[in-house]
Amino acid sequence: MNDTTQAKRSDEPVWWALFSAGGVCFAVVVPGAILALALLPAFGGFSADNLSYPRISALLHDALWGLAGLAFIGSVICLPLFHAAHRIHHGLHDLKLGGGLLSKVLCYGSAAALSLLALYLIS
């Protein structure tokens, strides 16, 4: 109608979308990642050669022109980090420990920083 009474646009949809996308990854991709990277190797399901430095390095950097590694980092590290940040931010509010701007900046800020770190480490 007019420009003076226009409400400030909320930034919640952005965090909500990242939370949902992270939730899908946490449910669909993360169980398999924990199984294949942490549990099966520890319980002797694989021989050590399969997780050798050259093999993992090649899978992460070269498979599908590097897109496979990028997809893996995005779906197992970055998006689940934003999912976790959202739950911790709101969980702190539930425990009456936070939920304000400070916890919001700290939670989503660390998720963003750690995501960038992961992307930097495979670049």
């Binding site: 169980p31 398999g32 739950r87």
Partner: protein, 134 residues
């Protein structure tokens, strides 16, 4: 809570002030379930931390990568990752049951089964790939 009135009558109730102790969620089974699901991200963060450490070791070279493999085989790390695995499956169960209620595209049972199938396919694919069968 009572407030002072001009007549000094302390019996008259003041504005309603709801009491919300920090432990409110312990008082009902449903809220405890809610908080347990919120807590599933804590072991998830541990696993993500392991992966970030792994990426760091990989960037340093072969010797450090061997250190990471040894770290991942430590009993307390395996135990926490088992917890993360259980938490991811618990989260998946609640998440998959929610989806057909938010977006009813097909019979709920079919949608839930389809989502578990996706999880199973990803797990199988990653296991075959990292286990050297692919």
């Amino acid at each position: 809570m009572n407030i002072e009135t001009p007549g000094g009558n302390k019996q008259e109730p003041g504005p309603y002030q709801p009491v919300m102790p920090r432990t409110w969620w312990l008082q009902h089974r449903y809220f405890r379930f809610y908080m347990l699901r919120e807590a599933t991200v804590l072991p998830l963060l541990f696993f993500i931390g392991c992966l970030l450490y792994g990426l760091y070791c990989l960037s340093l070279g072969e010797t450090q990568w061997q250190h990471w493999l040894a770290f991942m085989a430590k009993p307390w790390v395996v135990l926490l990752n088992l917890l993360a695995f259980a938490a991811s499956l618990f989260h998946a169960k609640t998440f998959f049951e929610l989806f057909p209620r938010v977006m009813p595209l097909a019979p709920p049972g079919l949608m839930i089964a389809g989502q578990w199938l996706a999880t199973l396919l990803v797990a199988t694919g990653l296991t075959l790939l990292l286990g050297g069968w692919l």
